[in-house]
Symmetry: C2
Subunit: 192 residues, 2 copies
């Protein structure tokens, strides 16, 4: 069945191409510029081909989000592993998180701002999303403090980071003192 295998390989390759191209356009010109026409043209196929891979634009956003979640998990783990002691680990994690959001704004939006048709915080949540949260939990759980549920603490800390990331990028917060805000957050929230 080599023929069928080859076709499936090609199909999978084209799907990756769609996702990568969508991401590329979004990072370059924003998600508004990711139209099905433009996307189709860039991959050199007609629009309906997109719909043989994804139900619609929302699912393409979702695919980019999953890709981003995997990368973010790796970035967070990488930063945490290079730091000594719980407090420094958390600080490194926070910086890595915000750095990821700043360097990949479109991907970050796909994950947390836009509707990618994904379910969060449930059993049927896709693995990459669970793993990204797990990556946060691994370092943050250590500094939750006595009597505080690690998962709940992670959620709260994450929310704070998310707020900083989104408000800063949307121009709601001046970007100058990000580092001070992060230190404030780490110093007060984390119990070393």
């Amino acid at each position: 069945m080599s023929l069928q295998e080859r076709k499936e390989r090609e199909r999978a390759g084209r799907e990756r191409l769609i996702v990568a191209t969508a991401r590329e356009i979004a990072e370059g010109q924003g998600w508004d510029a990711v139209t099905t026409r433009r996307l189709a043209e860039r991959i050199e196929y007609s629009q309906p081909v997109l719909y043989s891979h994804f139900r619609g634009k929302r699912e393409i956003i979702g695919a980019v989000a999953l890709e981003g979640a995997t990368e973010m998990a790796a970035a967070v783990r990488g930063a945490a592993s290079g730091a000594n002691g719980p407090r420094e680990r958390v600080a490194a994690l926070a910086r890595a998180y915000l750095d990821f959001a700043e360097r990949n704004p479109a991907v970050y939006d796909a994950m947390f701002q836009l509707d990618g048709g994904l379910t969060f915080a449930r059993e049927d949540t896709p693995e990459p999303l669970k793993d990204a949260f797990a990556a946060l939990l691994e370092s943050l759980g250590e500094v939750a403090g006595d009597g505080v549920h690690p998962g709940l603490f992670t959620e709260t800390f994450w929310a704070a980071l998310h707020g900083l990331a989104t408000l800063t990028r949307a121009g709601r917060l001046p970007p100058e003192h990000t580092e001070i805000r992060v230190e404030l957050l780490v110093d007060r929230l984390a119990i070393a």
Copy 2:
């Protein structure tokens, strides 16, 4: 010049009607349902009339955002004034903030998620936005702690609240333990 005054009054009234109707549709069916056609139909005028009041849809969103900012400032001040002691004031403020976001999701989106063409954190920032931030600062500045700039502390605390509000409403955080998360935030961040 009574005639001209009457015309201006009518014009102002229609402008309020546009903003109120936009808000109504948005709260009921989301901002995506606020189309210029639907909005025009609801106010019983044709589309171009909208453009004689606002440059475009973005400015209508901005107008809803300003209205919301005024209300949020009042809600926050009201909650804070009914509490004794800095710590309790901050807790009440946090609850009021999240409550406002939950009860007025479309308005909250207009303020902080969508592009309403507004400038934040600058000299030319519209008064209602500055005042909403000031309302937060009044209570939060008290608990910044020694050596921490009150404005910066307020921004950070606000970001944390914003993160909780948005992640919860977007289904990224389970809504069950909001109260515990708020208490965690207040207990750790606020220095009474």
